[in-house]
């Protein structure tokens, strides 16, 4: 979508947040454009929440700036949040007040006719039947929905959501994603943090991938796929020699043998050249198949190597998938 020259919904430059020894956010740049459903993807502890807190003006950056529609929340306070709504971590409410009273309170703090929208937003998140109950008795999913309702009271142009589906059951997750999709379709720009790759794949068109407080990739998801190149699997009459050959062949990247065959990445021209080379070497091709869904591999390659060392990628990817505590790549 074109920005038409107006300032972008989110523009962060060189954001740093240090908590004593912990460098929670380490020079992060973000560019959320109008109309984006922007995924802020990274494992637990990557610095997503800390970054979003700075964006919402809740904490002061150690260095750097973040602007929302060209306004700085540190300098302009609540004025910078005009047209912006959202929450970091689990939304919190007054447990001794009912859901509706909580919304009435927040609408009063919003002004701008927000209180007239209470019934509407309760309807959107389907919380109307329970609105008269105290929040103390709400489940996690209901609080999450009330959080979204409270954000919608502000009629946001930019919605900032910090892992909104985390902790929900599968049906709740699906509903939450559907709702976010619908809000995006209504024209709201969404900045969504997540440690769940499928969620980001399903909802987002652009992403920033963060690890250990740094952005290791920012751009379109489709570019990320292209950048990684297609993956292929080869089964041959002699995998050992095929691997040796692959290592010498230009254009064949990250070859890795794993008992059942050989995996590598290459563009189509390189694959064609490789197959001819195999033939010349007298190695028969049993199967040569393109492998899709390389985004996970890419993701792990970026988050494992981008910030840390530079080990071979295949092993890291395998390790990463099993390490579900750090990041959820599959459901």
């Amino acid at each position: 979508m074109s920005d038409g020259g107006s300032p972008p919904p989110v523009k962060a430059r060189g954001l740093v947040k240090r908590y004593k020894e912990v460098l929670a956010v380490d020079h992060i740049d973000l560019n959320v454009r109008t109309g984006d459903v922007y995924g802020f993807l990274g494992p637990n502890g990557a610095g997503k929440t800390t970054t979003l807190r700075m964006a919402l003006g809740l904490i002061t950056p150690t260095e750097g700036t973040v602007e929302l529609f060209g306004r700085n929340p540190m300098r302009q306070g609540a004025r910078a949040l005009e047209g912006v709504a959202g929450f970091v971590e689990a939304p919190r409410f007054y447990p001794y007040l009912t859901g509706r009273k909580n919304l009435e309170l927040l609408a009063a703090l919003d002004g701008d006719g927000a209180s007239e929208r209470i019934d509407e937003v309760l309807g959107v998140v389907e919380l109307a039947p329970r609105a008269g109950h105290r929040v103390a008795g709400y489940s996690h999913g209901m609080r999450q929905r009330l959080g979204l309702a409270s954000a919608l009271l502000r009629r946001p142009r930019l919605l900032i959501l910090d892992e909104p589906a985390t902790g929900l059951d599968p049906a709740g997750m699906r509903d939450m994603r559907r709702l976010i999709r619908r809000l995006a379709d209504d024209g709201i720009t969404v900045l969504l943090s997540s440690h769940q790759l499928p969620e980001v794949q399903e909802l987002c068109d652009r992403v920033a991938i963060v690890d250990s407080g740094r952005v290791v990739y920012e751009g379109a998801l489709s570019d990320l796929r292209r950048q990684g190149g297609a993956g292929y699997r080869l089964r041959s009459t002699d995998d050992v020699r095929a691997l040796e050959l692959a290592r010498l062949q230009t254009g064949i990247e990250h070859p890795l043998a794993d008992g059942t065959g050989l995996g590598f990445q290459a563009d189509e021209d390189a694959v064609a050249a490789f197959s001819l080379a195999l033939g010349r070497a007298g190695i028969g091709i049993l199967a040569l198949t393109p492998e899709l869904a390389t985004l996970e591999d890419l993701f792990f390659r970026l988050t494992e190597n981008g910030a840390g060392g530079s080990q071979p990628n295949g092993a890291d990817a395998a390790q990463g998938v099993s390490d579900s505590d750090r990041l959820v790549a599959t459901q």
Partner: protein
């Protein structure tokens, strides 16, 4: 949320100038929050029950403290209007400060604890207004505690011993209506040191982010000042201790009225209260809201 598509669309905001809420709006909601919380009633119950208990006890025992060292204690059964004065004398030292601090010490820290600070600070009101509203709510509560306690003591006293004239500290007899006015004025003057205590509670509430620490800390400070006042050789600093100002209203109950302790307490309290309030304000404006 499964039938989301059926619900009305949530439009995108128009770029019209929005009016932002006033401090008064935030203040009204701070009061509503107080009204909805059980702990609010704890302090009020304390300062209401004690006068009632006192009057009931006096009635049961039918004591006629003619030999009492306090002039108001001595005439307790002669005029119902001696009761609120005696109760203020008693409650002003510890119970009313405790009641005031129960709310002032909690009003910021509690929202830190349950994470609602981040909820209200991401709406359309600046931090300064949220702080002002909270400070005003704490002040309101302290004032309500004082006047409610005085009203209960007055009603209970008058119901038991009648609406009679009283003798003040200077031995002068004042008529019942005048005494009633003096009772009201004494409580109003007592608010000066009490609100100072509330300001300190608010500072600790903002700085420590912990209700219990703020309440215990403020009460601890009051006790410490009482102890310091007892230390021989430190008489020189006694007039400048905050706790000494709890007696500032005694000057009203003399003829002629002794304004000196009232004026003195006003600036001594300002010396404690204004920096505390200002520090709390600055901390609240700049602090990281990293919890919740």
């Amino acid at each position: 949320m499964s039938s989301v598509a059926a619900s009305p669309p949530v439009g995108v905001s128009r770029s019209k100038r929005s009016r932002r809420p006033s401090t008064a709006t935030v203040y009204r909601w701070e009061l509503r929050k107080l009204v909805s919380q059980k702990r609010t009633y704890l302090g009020l119950a304390l300062v209401i029950i004690l006068p009632i208990f006192f009057v009931v006890f006096q009635n049961v025992h039918q004591r006629h403290d003619r030999g009492a060292d306090n002039i108001f204690a001595a005439q307790i059964t002669q005029s119902g209007l001696a009761t609120p004065v005696l109760m203020l004398l008693f409650l002003s030292v510890f119970m009313l400060p405790l009641a005031a601090v129960l709310v002032a010490g909690d009003i910021v820290a509690a929202e830190d604890g349950n994470g609602t600070l981040k909820t209200i600070l991401t709406r359309s009101v600046d931090r300064g207004r949220v702080f002002a509203a909270k400070a005003l709510a704490a002040v309101t509560y302290a004032a309500i505690a004082v006047f409610l306690s005085a009203a209960v003591a007055t009603v209970a006293g008058v119901a038991s011993w009648g609406f009679q004239s009283v003798r003040t500290f200077s031995g002068t007899v004042v008529s019942a209506p005048e005494a009633l006015l003096l009772v009201f004025a004494s409580n109003a003057i007592y608010l000066i040191p009490l609100l100072t205590v509330a300001a300190i509670g608010l500072l600790l509430s903002t700085a420590t982010r912990n209700s219990a620490a703020a309440v215990v800390g403020t009460i601890g400070l009051v006790i410490l000042l009482f102890i310091i006042a007892q230390i021989p050789g430190l008489e020189g600093i006694k007039p400048y201790l905050l706790t000494e100002q709890f007696e500032n209203w005694h000057g009203l109950l003399r003829t002629p009225t002794d304004w000196a302790p009232i004026a003195h307490s006003a600036w001594v309290c300002a010396l404690y209260g204004v920096p505390a309030l200002f520090a709390a304000y600055l901390i609240f404006l700049r602090r990281d809201v990293a919890g919740g």
